[in-house]
Symmetry: C2
Subunit: 432 residues, 2 copies
Amino acid sequence: MKKRVVIVGGGFAGINAAKILGNRGDIEITLIDRKNYHLFQPLLYQVAMAALGEGDIAAPLRNMLADYQNITVFKGIVTGVDVENKIVHTDFREIPYDYLILACGVQHHYFGHNEWEENAPGLKTLAQAKEIRRRVMEAYEKAERTTDPVERKKLLTFVIVGGGPTGVELAGSIGEMSRYTLSKFYRNIDPKLTRIFIVEAAPRILGSFAPELASKATRSLEKLGVQVWTSSMVSEVDENGVQIGNERIEAATVLWAAGVTAIGIGKTMGVELDRIGRIIVGEDLSIPSHPEIFVGGDLAHFSLENGNALPGLAPVALQQGRAIGKNILCDLKSKSRKAFRYMDKGQMATIGKNKAIVQFGGIKFDGIAAWFTWLLVHIYFLTSFRHRVFVLLQWGWSYFTFSYGARLIVNKEWRFYPDAIRKAVCSDGEEG
Amino acid sequence: MKKRVVIVGGGFAGINAAKILGNRGDIEITLIDRKNYHLFQPLLYQVAMAALGEGDIAAPLRNMLADYQNITVFKGIVTGVDVENKIVHTDFREIPYDYLILACGVQHHYFGHNEWEENAPGLKTLAQAKEIRRRVMEAYEKAERTTDPVERKKLLTFVIVGGGPTGVELAGSIGEMSRYTLSKFYRNIDPKLTRIFIVEAAPRILGSFAPELASKATRSLEKLGVQVWTSSMVSEVDENGVQIGNERIEAATVLWAAGVTAIGIGKTMGVELDRIGRIIVGEDLSIPSHPEIFVGGDLAHFSLENGNALPGLAPVALQQGRAIGKNILCDLKSKSRKAFRYMDKGQMATIGKNKAIVQFGGIKFDGIAAWFTWLLVHIYFLTSFRHRVFVLLQWGWSYFTFSYGARLIVNKEWRFYPDAIRKAVCSDGEEG
């Protein structure tokens, strides 16, 4: 009897677990993901900023796993897990398992204000990246059109809530684009006057980095025209801007890069969760009360000796995925499972052309060396040779011509006949 | 006093008129387009089929026209033209003109059944290309999931209504993809069983080509598994398929490539239109009753000596745009305008790898030579050097690896918190 392994989520953890277990005759694997693709999330902000296209950082899960005959991929939504009967409920079928690997990640969290999402999209999916791109470019189009100077100022103001790597990378990109790239394209506005704010609740940005690196990154951001507001807690987001206690910034575009919460699956299972909904795992990465259920990647809360949890980084997810696969193989060989040990790969963030910070154990550096390190590491970890070639070519092109990729505003509405739409889906055909 | 030229539409006609008139001190140009980009429409079907990305065949109008200091580009919608007072009405401002160039093209036409659009998207915009890509790939995902063989057959059936070049290129692409590329990616279905129909009302497909070329294209399509139904008029399109008189095909995916109608602007102006709403122009490409208004591209009805109108092809639009620009310059120099003469560039269509047909005056050929001609011509006419390089690279990659680009299904819905959506826009967050 083959062991049935169900993997929920095709991110770094899921895909690497699948590869370890692939092409083994004694295992039958079902991988389920809401999307049909694996996403290289560290470069998602570049899609949002039109530096890369969606195909450059994503690959269909079917293609990636095509050579593993024992893996079936389904695009579908997991609606719950019956841990007693070992059944995954989905929107299309019930799937029984012997082993379950949960690796479906986290989502943005609005601190109890989910209604803020409408005016402050987060950046976790390709759909969100394209929404951000659309909003940023549409703001410039509207600014070029308006004759009202106050309205224009609001349109040329961008607020990024959250000063982690994603917030810093978004702000740096907008800074670079507005200061260097856009100037010659407009006749009625000066894109160099774009105001960009990072609003961070903590006393400094990039809290996971060493203070001296965060300080250097702050200076680099300032040189690109980004205003860094620390110790600033957003108290309200509306369609005209953000409120920060008694202060207010009028902005047509607000982007959310603060706070994450685990995808809700853990809550349906009656297992132990941490404060932000992540599932607490033992040192073999399984749930203590259910050794047949493993959790990896951002969804897992893996405690370190100092009491902290491992951060939600790609290398952590990748290593956990492999470790989960190997621990299942240990079970099949009747060997004892191994405790997971994270091999620290350091962390890095890029601020703009030739500007980045790198921290690796005790080693810290910044500037052009850090930027090249960032570039090489990201190229190396891209999914396929094809991705590497095309991303390198585009970066090379942008680097030497200082022009970005195509900043297209693609309508969300594909229909041409609005009457038909109103009849069909009751929504407004004039929309965006 | 500078002459004010307003151009509506940034397609081949609009952009080429703008370039002729650019950087002249005595002219002030305003170009208005609903989109912020120029689209290389002949390759749009490749975006729909995921062979190319959107950035490969589109470029922001601002970038293309950045070096012409006398051109202002606005993304906006033209709502009407006041021909008496020479004012263009838009959704953001009234814009007066001395010369008006209308070049806003055509749209799909459902022969009085606009409600068919919901179940049979056309292919004129990037948004539509991505909707088609989403539907085609989603059909395979659902087919892999279902256990009902009749449902599966319906999901693996694609009907293309219309046997012109666009319909043929779409059908050929789906044929090639299903017969050669997709096979190894699915475990529960055989993509080679995909049924593909071209449904054409006329007695043969590719009516604008010589019969022997159309016949060869039909054979090429058949070899890729495409079933060509001619003399077949669609009488009903619904969410489960199409009705053709007494015959019926059950299909989850129907694509529309039949019939166009002019964008409605002509109707608001009280000028002479043809049967499908195109504006009838004189031999200088202006409207006879309004010599200050020119019309170019698909929107123009330019009569040939044999009584036919020039077809809606990219080279026609390109040459008309240039001719309009030159005729305006003639006016400014007080020279008489020149009659427009179309330099026939022939026509071509591609069916699949190494398969195409080319017709140029009396010369007709097909097969690999035609395919290479098609390839070189399309590369040559791409907008920029960057586009040429990246399209060639992707085609080269696909040609030698027989793998297409990233067949990603990107959600239309970017929001994560459905409650917030319902409050905000009254639509269903679970959608696609």
